[in-house]
């Protein structure tokens, strides 16, 4: 598969069809593995890294799940192409900085992506739409079980799988979900939720992981520890916490409808107005406003069939996607102009927010799915 096809195809998770997809954008599970007695990528010399790559890459490519896969050495991808993969969460920001001796292999559906020589020799990731941590774990666990018969993974009976960073030792697993929580942010309850989540040993991060800002009311929640707990336990504990957060988000939205409706309609109206008429927009502003429109769709203020165009804008307005689609490198100012133009074009066919549709839904309880209009 060519890179152009990867871009055109779009990932399965981008279509947003999984359970609880209104609030849970995606679920990801990654496993870190290393070869025994081989220097970890950060310490290995270029020759050693290349040797490890040559051992691992063919084994990954011959996996049944990797038929018709996209497989590329990092030095053969342009900076822009790498950034597109980062924006789709198919490789990490750290991996995008790599060159000779590193590779990425992903399946056609983009549900599985395997990084070779990131921080560890192998970083295997499964990504699914909505809340599907268990199935994401199952998929990546299966890949791991197949590969362990062909590759000599480093493990210790007491410490489990050995990883470059001691924070990953044990299961080598990081399970995470990307949540869209505008209700909790608007009702100013988000900090309380974050603190509670932190307290039980889970981490909350921004859009692109460690050290990134929370934009567009998007938050990543993941396990913090990897030693002393079974994979299935970590996954089910995380899933339960996320289900609770989903409930809290629904409650917060109901509270806003009932007690702060004017603030809510004001936010939605302003977001609609700015997105429809602006001629320059940073990606941060775009994400924050699109988040409010997405909330509007969830609440029924916009017809349900407008959901996909909005979800697509979340990705299409990211800097690298923008430049890729315009086939040229753009400076920040040009990007802001193009971003505003794309959004204006797509919103031209968008109806005005209709709050009367929402009011009728307010009595339906906190877990009610919003109406599918027309």
């Amino acid at each position: 598969m060519k890179f152009a096809n990867v871009i055109a195809a779009g990932g399965e998770w981008l279509r947003g069809e999984g359970p609880h997809h209104q609030i849970v954008i995606s679920s990801r599970v990654r496993l870190a593995r290393n070869l025994r007695h081989r220097a970890f990528p950060g310490w290995a010399k270029k020759v050693e890294r290349t040797q490890v790559l040559e051992l691992i890459k063919p084994r990954v490519e011959e996996l049944p799940e990797m038929q018709d896969s996209f497989s590329e050495m990092l030095q053969d991808l342009s900076a822009l192409e790498k950034q597109v993969l980062v924006e789709r969460h198919l490789i990490s920001r750290e991996h995008a900085a790599k060159s000779v001796g590193s590779a990425v292999i992903m399946n056609r559906r983009q549900t599985l992506s395997i990084m070779v020589n990131e921080e560890d020799h192998l970083r295997m990731q499964s990504i699914r739409s909505g809340l599907q941590l268990k199935s994401a774990f199952k998929l990546v666990d299966k890949i791991d079980s197949t590969l362990e018969n062909k590759l000599d993974f480093a493990y210790d009976p007491k410490l489990g799988y050995l990883t470059a960073c001691p924070t990953n030792v044990g299961t080598g697993m990081r399970a995470s979900a990307m949540l869209h929580l505008p209700g909790l942010v608007l009702s100013e309850m988000i900090n309380q939720v974050i603190q509670a989540v932190n307290k039980i040993g889970l981490a909350v991060r921004g859009l692109y992981g460690e050290g990134t800002e929370a934009m567009g009311n998007l938050f990543q929640i993941s396990n913090q520890t990897t030693l002393g707990e079974k994979e299935e336990e970590i996954v089910s504990r995380l899933s339960k916490v996320i289900e609770t957060i989903i409930e809290k988000e629904h409650d917060a939205r109901q509270m806003l409808i009932q007690k702060k409706s004017n603030t809510l309609w004001d936010q939605i109206g302003r977001a609609y107005g700015v997105l429809t008429f602006a001629h320059a927009m940073t990606s941060k502003e775009a994400l924050n406003l699109l988040s409010i429109i997405k909330l509007g769709v969830d609440l029924g203020a916009f017809p349900e069939d407008r959901r996909l165009p909005i979800d697509e804008l979340f990705i299409d307005t990211q800097p690298a996607h923008l430049q890729k689609s315009s086939h040229q490198k753009l400076n920040a100012e040009e990007r802001d102009e193009l971003r505003a133009q794309i959004i204006r074009d797509r919103l031209r066919v968008f109806p005005r927010p209709d709050i009367s549709k929402v009011a009728r839904e307010s009595g339906n309880g906190s877990t009610a799915e919003p109406p599918t209009n027309e």
Partner: protein, 165 residues
């Protein structure tokens, strides 16, 4: 500067305490400091307790010349990068790592998945232990026929263990 606990994030909380005229420093990132509840400076003694007594010192002292026999990684390299050199480093630096892992994780022992190969090795060594016990018993009971059969089984098992899959 990296966090002394997770070694992954940049440190944003810097704790300094002078004890018996000696300065002790602990650098933590935001999330570790929150997790350890050390944002309040009066809770510093608590910090030390939670991080393992004098965590910062422990990393400092170690044996700076200690070197991994497999990859040549040193304690000083770990302090700098927060990453280890290879899987064998976990054995080389096991002493210093122990308290670090304890502070970082929920438990100190892995209870999750292991490669099939590990299961096989554990099964075989369990079987070996049973056979040896049976053999001893057979010899004590002067049941030489059974002892001979057990001895053969042990030999066979030893051969299997020698062939690494």
């Amino acid at each position: 500067m990296l966090c002394d606990v997770c070694k992954c994030n940049d440190a944003t909380v810097f704790l300094t305490q002078i004890l018996e005229g000696k300065m002790q420093k602990v650098n933590l990132c935001d999330s570790c400091s929150k997790e350890k509840g050390v944002q309040d400076p009066t809770g510093f003694a608590l910090a030390d307790l939670l991080l393992g007594i004098g965590a910062a010192e422990e990393i400092e002292k170690g044996t700076p010349t200690q070197k991994c026999g497999v990859c040549g990684f040193t304690q000083a390299d770990f302090k700098k990068t927060g990453r280890l050199g290879c899987s064998a480093c976990y054995i080389t630096f096991s002493e210093g790592l122990g308290s670090l892992l304890k502070a970082m994780h929920k438990g100190t022992e892995h209870v999750g998945k292991l490669p099939q190969r590990a299961h096989r090795e554990i099964e075989l060594s369990d079987r070996m232990r049973t056979l040896n016990a049976d053999l001893q018993k057979a010899v004590e009971e002067e049941n030489y026929e059974s002892a001979a059969s057990l001895r053969d089984q042990i030999k066979q098992l030893e051969a299997n263990l020698a062939i690494k899959p």
